[in-house]
Structures are given as C-alpha cells and as structure tokens.
Amino acid sequence: MKKVYSEVDNVVFRDLFFASPIASYICNVEGFVTVVNDAAIALWGREPEIGKEKWSGAFAISSVDGRPMPLEKSPMARAVIGQEGVSGEEIVIQRSDGTQRIVLVFPKPIHTAAGACIGVCTTLVDITHYKQYEERQAALSEIVQSSDDAIISKKLDGTILSWNAGAERIFGYSEHEIIGKSIYTLIPTYLRSEEETIIREIREGRKVDHYQTIRVTKSGKEIPISLTISPMRNKQGQIIGASKIARDISDKIQREQTIQFHAQKLETLHAIGKVISEKLDTHSIIQTVIDSTTHLASADVGLCFYRISDDQGHTSLSVAVAAHGNNNEYYNLHLDEGIIHAIFAGEDVVKFDDVCEAAHVLSLFDTKEGAKAPRIRHCLAIPIRSGDKLLIGAMFFGYAQSDVFKTADEDMMRSIALLVAVTLDNARLLEEVNALNLKKNEFIALASHELKTPLTTIKGYLQILERSEIDQVGRRFLTKALKQLERINALIAELLDISKIEAGKLSFHFERFDMSEMVLDVVETFHFSSQTHTIFVNNVRGDYTVVADRQRMEQVIINLITNAIKYSPDANNVYVTLESSVHEVSVQVKDEGMGMSRDQQEKVFTRFYQVEGTSKMTGLGLGLYLSKEIIERHGGHIGVNSELGKGSTFYFSIPRGQ
C-alpha cells in the first residue's frame, strides 16, 4: 500500500531535507550528485559541483582500516548498482582541510512508482567523537588491567565493584571471587575503624593520598601497602563510591629496613672501633661491645666470655653480660671453660636451634631463682680466637623467639669477634709491656742503690785524704776525683728520676720556703766550686715565699746554673734574676754563651737532647727534661729565649701555692 503525498507535504519534506542537521544528499542513477543539504556541505568541508561529481561530495573516502575506497565501490554506488542493502556501513571521509570524519552511511535507493531506480538518497551520521571516546575507554581499560598496582572500585557501603589484574596479584583473590564482596575482606580486624575514617573522608569528597597501612591477602598474610583513594561520582555529581589504588610496598619497606639495619650495623661497628681505640680498660671495652652487639643481633641476652691476664701475668676467665632492660644480675654466669672448648671443638659459628637439647649451652643462660628473664630457646655461639688461632673467648646470644634468631647476621658477628680478639691481644701485649716496664724500673732503682754504695765509701776515703797533708799535685787530682764522683752521683740520680717519671711515680713533697734564700744558698755553693764564672743574683728583696718541693726546685736551679756555666765556656758571668707577683714567683738564668738556634730551642726540653756541635759537653741530656717535668708538675711554666752567639736566658715560673 502506497501513501500518496499532497503538494504541501512535498514542500514540507523538501524543507525538512534542506534544514536537517543530518548530512544528506541525492545522486542520480548515474551517480552524479544532484542535491545536497547544508549539513552535508558542513560535514565534507566543501560544496560539490552539482551534476559533475559522483557518489560523494567528500574530497576522498576510505574504509575504516585506512585503505582508499574507489567511488564505484562505495556503499552509495553499491546500493544503486547492486541494489544491496548496505545501510550503517562505516567509512572515513577526507575533508578538504585534511581532517577526517568517521561516518555511518545510510544510502537509500529512490524508485519511481513503477519501480525503476532513479537514484539514491544518502544520509551520513558523524560518529567521529563517539569512536574517539571508545578508543580512549579501551586504552584506559588496558592501563587499569596492565597496572602493577591494585585498582579497585567500591560502593560507599564497601561492596567491591571492580578488580584489576594487579589487585589479583597483590591480594590473591580472582575477580569473580571478590566482586560483590565487602572491602573488609582485605582489612585486618584491628584496622576496621580505619576504613570507616577513609569512607568518611570520601563522603566529604576528599581524596586520601599515599596512606600507608596493612592489608590481608587471601592466604592471610599481612602486607604493607600505600593507598590512594578518590571519590567516584555519577553524572549528577553525587558521590556513589570510591576508586582505590593500592601499591604493595613490602619491597620498599624491606629495603628501608635493610638500609636501616645496615646503617645500624655500621654505627655499631664504628662505636665498637671507637671504644677499642679510646678505652684501655679491657673489661669496659668488652662490656660496651657485648651491649651493642646484643642489641644489634636482636638477642634477648648476650654473654661474652674472655680470657684476660693481670699485671702479674696470671690469666683468668671473665664474663660480661648484656640483658634486656639491663637485668644483668639475673644470670648466674658459671665460669666453666670446659663448656666453651667443647662447643667450639670445630672452628666456626655454632647455632643451637633448641638449647633444651644442649644442656651445657642452656647452663650458660642459667638464671637466678625468681628472675624474670625470658626463657632462652635458641642460641648463636661465636668463638673468639687470637691471632694464633687459640680460643680466647666466646660470645653467646640467646633468643626466646626463633624468627629473630634466624635473621642474626653471622658475618657481622664474626667481624665483631675479630675485633674483640684484637682487643684481648692488645690487652695482653699491654700487660706484658707494663710488666716489663715495671721490671725495668725496679732494676733501675736497685742498680742506682747498688751504685751509690761504693760511691759512699769512695767519697768518704777521698774526703779523709783531702784533710791530710798531701802535696799540690795530689790535692789537684783529689779535687778532680771528688768532682767526677759528684757527676756520677748526679747521673745516677737523673736515671732514677726518669724511671720514676715513666712509672708515674715521681712524687713531690711540698713545703713552704723562701725561693730567694734557696737561690742564694745554691749560688753560694757555685762560688766555692766554680773557678771560671761569677754568678750575680738580682732582685732578692721582696716576697718569694712559695709552697713547693724544695729539693726538686733546688734541682731545677742547679741544673739551669750548671748549664749556663757549661755552655758559656768563654764567658765569666751568669746572671740570676728573681721576680714575683701576687700569684707567681719566677727565676731567670742568663748566660753570655753560644746561644741556640730556634730549632734547638724547640728541642732542648726533650729527653736525651744534646746540643749539636758540642761533643765535649757531657751528660745524658736529661737535665732540662727533668726540670720541665718538675716545673710543669708544680703547675708552672719553663722556657728559653736565645739567639745564636748571644747567649741564652732560661726561665721558669711557678704558682705560689696554698
């Protein structure tokens, strides 16, 4: 049945055709474009020449896969020539400005009332935007699926809506297992309130960024994750759920812990090295070492048994303990060397997974009755061997829990055991050196005493001879012999003093006296003994009271005046000047001798120093060293001003004392 349209209808149809926003055009049966509407012109981007161009007004057309499409093969031509129904085919049209449009083509053949085909009316629907959106969606979906992170969406009540491959990998649940389940499936019970807080934030439209927390996998393992949660809205802008990106940060946390562990290791090693280099007391070194190592090994208790020798050369076994909360006194600490030797019959580190099966090891951790110490179940034992591989000690680390026990770093422990061995070796060497030094000082004391005994009789004999009637030659040599005797005596005294300084046993006996009187007394003895020099004393008036060791002060002044005479053989005068202030008394001894270079001045107070080029000058080179020690031990200062060829001035000052 055919509908017959009126003339009015035809006008309406024509207007509808031309005003339609849908691109439409008509070709005759040969294919020539005969009528186009504005929408078609807009879509092509050009206006075709009516009656001249065939099948399309576009610059060119191609199929969706990009291949050029000959006009005769276009859906429009096929609709007319082949009378095919090709409605809804997608083609791409090239516009005159070079851009493309993807369109759906609806060619409709036009027939006469008699049924003859006289052309085709084609409608083009632009689907470019829709296609682009589709592509973008596909790309987004691909990103979500291929992400390493878990990307999940959920409703506000917590029902899981979507679940990507990353989520499956991290949490272990497959998509079909988890969709529709509650998000609480992934949250440890003790963190449930956390989700409520997160949902509250989401409802308020706020995002939660990089929130670090714990989630549970299908296997029940708790893993650290970082969460980013954003509100999800519908088209009306209402919040209907949340999208959630969860990143497994186990590796990151593990790395952080590893870094922290290594840093701690380094810090401990550094601290141990520092202690060893700074402290000399072996017991306190070992205590520090065992304290920090026990902490580092995360052990509940650490024991360090070690062999140490005392200054008598006897060795004995000691033990240092480091326990949690400094409860060191909880342990009985049996010192049984047999156990240690039995444990390390082999060479290296020994691990006891269950100390209950090794009664001898368990006995090391024996606690006192009522002590609230953790029950030790596992033990890591590290031998301490000396340079010559002798077992000189051992470290034992006790653990109540096995998981911590397994992570203990054996290599680290070995290094620390080596450091301890070095410490013990050093301590032993130091003791040996100290013992030898003690013997040396004892020997010097004894030797000096033995040397002085014959000197006593020789001096007596010479002085008795001196009183008798002897000729001039005899008297001259007698005087010389007595002088030589005094020199030997002085040398012995110096040696004894040096050994006392070394042993830290140079003791002082303080008394109150007048320094100027003492100086005058000393100078007077030089007037008797020195035929070559005159000693002038200036400034004796004033208060020169000091509290000092009189004999030692005398020793210093005698030394300075003797030197002044000795090193000015061509001069005749030595000047001694006294000075005093409220707090100090000082003495200067000036000679007119050979003087000293700056270099010599720096060295002159050191031990065994002899001025070069003065081979005829005798002595051990100890006098000024002793003087410096004496003055400094009095809290004073000694020094020299000198110029080569112009003489030297030695001076010292000491505080007045109490």
Partner: protein, 119 residues
C-alpha cells in the same frame, strides 16, 4: 765517759768508714751488719745515738726506727736514718727519726749531724 754510737749497716766498707770517722771524734762505736745481731745486742747497752741504714739483708731499718721511737724505753734515743734511696726520707716510718742522711754523704755534713744529735 765516751758517748756510745750504734750503727746498723750491712756494707762492711761503709761500716768501717763510719767507725773510723766516729772513733777519731772520740765516740764509742759498735757496728751491726744485720737486724738479728743488732737485736741480740740491744738488751745489753743503750746507745746515745743510733745510726740505721734502711735497706738491710734481713729487714727494713725504717721498722727498727719506728719500733724504737714507739717504745717508751728507747723513744728518747736519737736516731739518724741513712740510705742511698732518697725517697725513704718521706716514708711515714721515718717521721720520728731525728735526721736523714743521703748516701753518698759528705763527711763534714755527716759528722755535723752526729754532733748535733749528741749535744
């Protein structure tokens, strides 16, 4: 009457030297070379002056000094200590001694000390 000086000195030559010096000055001198022989003789006669060397083969002269100075019967007898080891001067047992002579000594000083103690 001659003043009696007892000397406790283990070195024979020093002992001889002291005997020579003091006899010359008119003192009555007895020398003991160890503590044992000194103690044996001690009850028989009190000296007017006792000279003691510190390091003796069978003990320390400082102990003898301390014992004599603590005993009322002998505390008034002057004692001179004598040693090549000068640090004994400051030993607490030497506190009550009347003098300390360092070896080697000057004979003038030595005789001066003796004369001073014997008045």
């Amino acid at each position: 009457m001659k003043k009696a000086v007892h000397v406790l000195e283990d070195d024979i030559d020093i002992g001889e030297l002291i005997v020579f010096l003091l006899t010359e000055q008119g003192y009555d001198v007895a020398v003991f070379s160890n503590i044992a022989s000194f103690k044996q003789h001690a009850g028989q006669q009190s000296p007017d002056l006792l000279i003691i060397d510190v390091m003796l083969p069978d003990g320390n002269g400082l102990d003898i000094c301390e014992a004599w100075k603590t005993d009322e019967a002998t505390s008034q007898i002057p004692i001179l200590l004598m040693s090549a080891y000068d640090d004994y001067r400051h030993d607490h047992r030497a506190e009550k001694a009347n003098g300390f002579i360092s070896k080697p000594f000057d004979i003038k000083t030595f005789l001066g000390e003796v004369k001073l103690r014997l008045g």
